[in-house]
């Protein structure tokens, strides 16, 4: 499992980067990048996102 970013909703504010304990989020110019190989599924980014742009990625 991992998370999925809705780039249309994302405001690029970096809030998810601030709370990610494992550096699995990075704010590049105008884009949030998620590194699933680092992600530990703690869900902090999902909760903190002011606009609800991050969701759990359902398992296939």
């Amino acid at each position: 499992m991992s998370v999925k970013i809705d780039h249309e909703k994302c405001m690029h504010c970096g809030g998810c980067v601030s709370v990610c304990p494992v550096l699995a989020m990075e704010l590049k110019e105008g884009k949030i990048e998620h590194l699933p190989e680092k992600c530990i599924d703690c869900g902090a980014c999902i909760k903190v996102c002011p606009v609800g742009a991050i969701k759990k990625e359902e398992e296939k």
Binding site: H12, C13, G15, V17, V19, K47
Partner: protein, 401 residues
């Protein structure tokens, strides 16, 4: 421009803290470079744009009509039941301005440039250069191309989501319970109670553990925003849209000109804000007033302190022991007070809507004016006890801690 030479200082981030730091280092003769990942200094803001007169004095800034847009002479606190407490701050040190942050930030950068500092935009700090256990520069990606920039000191002024702090191994991950998730509209056509008063709305309906704010930028222009605990399952946007719907009369002639979001640290400052060749300034070190989340002033002040300690340290090699006095100075002058204010905040976080109503109805305006001060805790508690003796158990728990 040849950026390849060795710099005395590289500042990462051209926000208020970064530009002020650069100006202060350059003014003292240090070769200073600022790297900024965006293609322009300023927008998008993650901020309500309030700045008090007192902070401007600390940072040696005079009011400037191009960015001190609206003079603020007080605050209207609104309790969950609608009870209003009007606080006048006109002649007190809480007086200040709602600023146009984009212009303000560019002016600060201009001040730094005139002091001798250089800026490099569209340059993202991807990693730190480390040599012999010391931080010795920054690896940036500029317009897609990697460049290694060397310096004796790196200053991380790259915000609450600081990559510099993280890459340096400083414990900067913000716990969800210690941050506010914020969302804001800048709007024109807003029906303001008073265009020179900030409006703050409290209560679980408006904002879980936070408040809704209306900060006027003109007679009918305002930042309308909300901050809620990072732990809330609902989004800040959800809270703001719902509150605006319940207060739609105020916004019937209004439309949005800007949408902002961001996360604010409302906690103690970071344990360690220096390392070998490294200093943190501003939100990256959580230098924020934990009562209201204001961080521009503390970042400006820290930028001055960083240069005061950093410039003499350059001659000695910028090892950690020569930079440590920066942290000590900051903690003495500001951090200690912020830790006390955090206790007031923790008390406030536990207040129920009923408590908030009682405080708005019964508190002396002078007590409300000084909410951000440690001393206000006992005064608020007294107000609460007077109007509701049954709250003694609750008050005791927090006052004695």
């Amino acid at each position: 421009m040849n950026y390849d030479k060795k710099w005395d200082v590289i500042v990462v981030g051209a926000g208020p803290g970064g530009s002020k730091t650069a100006e202060e280092f350059a003014k003292r003769g240090a070769k200073t470079l600022v790297v900024e990942k965006k293609q322009q200094i300023g927008p998008p803001k993650r901020c309500g744009e309030g700045l008090s007169q007192r902070w401007m004095e600390i940072a040696n800034l005079d009011p400037d009509p191009t960015w001190t847009l609206q003079k603020i002479t007080g605050t209207v606190l609104v309790a969950p039941n609608g009870e209003e407490a009007w606080i006048d701050t006109e002649d007190k040190d809480q007086a200040g301005y709602i600023i146009e942050r984009s212009k303000f930030e560019k002016d600060l950068a201009s001040d730094a440039i005139r002091a001798g500092s250089k800026f490099m935009l569209k340059a993202r700090a991807a990693d730190l250069v480390k040599e012999n256990g010391k931080i010795a520069g920054v690896k940036v990606v500029r317009e897609g191309k990697p460049i290694t920039l060397k310096s004796d000191i790196v200053v991380g002024a790259d915000g609450v989501d600081s990559m510099i702090a993280r890459k340096a191994g400083l414990n900067s991950t913000l716990p969800l319970s210690e941050c506010d998730s914020g969302y804001q509209y800048e709007m024109t056509g807003v029906d303001l109670k008073d265009p020179h008063k900030m409006e703050l709305y409290f209560g679980s309906e408006a904002a879980n553990r936070g408040y809704v704010w209306i900060f006027p930028k003109g007679s009918d222009i305002a930042n309308v925003g909300v901050g809620i605990t990072g732990e809330d399952e609902k989004t800040a946007k959800h809270y703001l849209d719902r509150w605006m719907k319940h207060n739609q009369e105020r916004f019937k002639n209004a439309s949005i000109t800007e949408i902002n979001s961001g996360v604010v640290p409302v906690t103690s400052p970071i344990d360690q804000m220096v390392s070998h060749g490294l200093m943190l300034v501003g939100d990256s070190a959580r230098m924020v007033n934990p009562m209201h989340g204001g961080g521009i002033g503390p970042a400006l002040e820290a930028g001055i302190m960083a240069a005061e300690i950093g410039v003499p340290a350059l001659e000695k090699g910028a090892e950690k022991q020569f930079l440590q006095p920066y942290q000590e100075k900051w903690e003495e002058k500001r951090g200690k007070n912020f830790k006390k204010i955090l206790k007031v905040r923790h008390f406030f976080e536990k207040l129920s809507d009923k408590h908030l109503n009682l405080i708005a109805e019964n508190a002396d305006p002078d007590v409300l004016l000084n909410l951000g001060h440690r001393k206000s805790l006992s005064k608020i508690a007294k107000t609460l006890l007077k109007s509701s003796p049954q709250s003694i158990g609750f008050v005791k728990d927090y006052i004695t801690k």
